[in-house]
């Protein structure tokens, strides 16, 4: 399959799975290209521009399009660290989120409730 044909397949999949969910809250994305090595490049548009949850959305796109034979990854103009990507991947696939010292809360804000005096 040529990269142009692959681009069409990716766009159809994104249009059917991801875009309606994004557009429901005013966001949007465009699938710009697919490289020869199968990397999809997307651009965030509308309310997605500058949204702090773009990395989560990117992971959702990644999980969706990686099911297409020939697709190896997803890129957009911003990146997250590998630490964050591993956590997002685990989150998106329902797996166990890798623990990191950075995730440890500095104070025990969550714990057993104090017994209520009847």
């Amino acid at each position: 399959m040529s990269t142009d044909e692959l681009l069409g397949v990716v766009r159809r999949q994104v249009d059917q799975t991801i875009r309606p969910r994004i557009q429901a809250h005013g966001g949007d994305i465009s699938v710009d290209s697919v490289s020869a090595s199968g990397v999809v490049h997307v651009t965030f548009r509308a309310a997605c521009r500058g949204c702090g949850l773009r990395s989560v959305t990117t992971e959702a796109i990644r999980q969706s399009v990686l099911t297409i034979p020939g697709i190896s990854g997803v890129e957009h103009t911003t990146r997250v660290s590998e630490f964050a990507r591993e956590r997002l991947e685990a989150f998106a696939t329902g797996g166990t989120m890798p623990w990191s010292p950075a995730m440890e809360l500095p104070h025990p804000t969550v714990g057993p409730r104090a017994p209520v005096d009847p």
């Binding site: 521009r49 500058g50 957009h76 103009t77 911003t78 990146r79 997250v80 660290s81 990191s100 950075a102």
Partner: protein, 332 residues
């Protein structure tokens, strides 16, 4: 070239702090204190009270003692503290004339001090006679005098004239008050509507609006014609490296590596090579990658920030420029 990367410095200032030019020394004195606060051996700030930058000295700093390939000499049209501004247009033009193959000239005008018509006329003169390819604006002045980039009466005629003159990149000093300007007048918020109304114009915000850093990054993340210059931010590195990592990391995460520019802020900090070296080898600490998800600084990102992004904005063909420079000695 630095380790194979094209180095295009977004901002140097040929300053003039001579007694003939200084009206009110408060800004000059504050700036000198700020510059010296963020200095250390090898990255010293210049003792520049009462002096001005010499063209030959500037050429040596840039093209003999550093890996810089090209620079933009930016006018500082701040007329409430200096008669001709901290960095007068004519002095920036002199640097460009001394080395036109490596130096681009950035105009500087102000509608408050020159009046709108005077500002437009002078802008046109600096473009037509002196070959300006961009323009720099300082919107906040002493005693609360200021103007906004989204003012249809004051600012939009300037952006329209810029486009007519072929200038599609304008630049703004944001944050970092030099003297008694009001901090709120240095916030980046006014660029939002201007960026929306002039999508064909590129807006470069300097200093990440310090201390309005989060707002500046947020605006750049949402407007694709807004770009961020590391000017003055990179210069914090010798004293506060983690401040730089945090700001750069946040920008890489939210804006991306395509709209971040290297700016040395020479010649207040003249040791240009030290800053190129710092950016050229800077790594995002793993702790910040883990805690905040800030991406690592890849070689691709580094090359874009050090020069390719600004070259794209200035429509400089890097390969052709490198061929040209290989046959020309800096400064004639």
């Amino acid at each position: 070239m630095h380790n194979g990367m094209f180095v295009f410095d977004n901002v140097v200032h040929m300053y003039d702090n001579t007694v003939e030019n200084v009206i009110d020394p408060v800004a000059m004195n504050f700036q000198e204190k700020f510059h010296h606060t963020y200095s250390r051996p090898g990255m010293e700030a210049e003792n520049y009270v009462g002096t001005h930058t010499e063209v030959q000295e500037a050429l040596v700093y840039l093209f003999e003692k550093s890996d810089t390939d090209m620079v933009m000499a930016q006018t500082v049209p701040l007329f409430s503290y200096w008669k001709q501004g901290f960095a007068p247009a004519w002095l920036q033009y002199k640097l460009k004339e001394a080395c036109p193959e490596r130096v681009l000239f950035c105009a500087g005008v102000d509608p408050l001090f020159q009046g709108l018509e005077g500002c437009l006329d002078e802008l046109e003169r600096q473009v037509v006679e002196w070959g300006a390819v961009s323009a720099k604006f300082y919107q906040a002045h002493a005693r609360g005098r200021s103007w906004r980039a989204d003012d249809p009466q004051v600012a939009y005629p300037i952006w329209e004239r810029c486009l007519e003159l072929g200038i599609d990149t304008v630049q703004f000093h944001k944050g970092i008050p030099l003297g008694h300007e009001f901090l709120e007048d240095l916030a980046p918020n006014d660029v939002q509507q201007a960026a929306a109304d002039f999508p064909q114009m590129n807006f470069i915000l300097h200093h990440f609006g310090l201390p309005h850093v989060d707002a500046t990054i947020n605006i750049a993340a949402r407007y694709e014609n807004v770009h961020l210059s590391l000017s003055a931010i990179l210069n914090l590195w010798p004293v506060s490296p983690w401040t730089v990592y945090e700001i750069l990391g946040k920008a890489l995460l939210n804006v991306g590596e395509d709209r971040i520019l290297y700016g040395s802020e020479a010649f207040a900090w003249p040791a240009v090579q030290a800053y190129i070296g710092a950016l050229g080898s800077m790594q995002m600490p793993e702790e910040l990658q883990d805690r905040y998800g800030y991406p690592e600084i890849t070689e691709t990102a580094r090359a874009k920030i050090l020069g390719l992004n600004f070259a794209k904005l200035m429509k400089v063909d890097v390969e052709a420029k490198l061929r040209e420079l290989s046959t020309v000695k800096a400064g004639g």
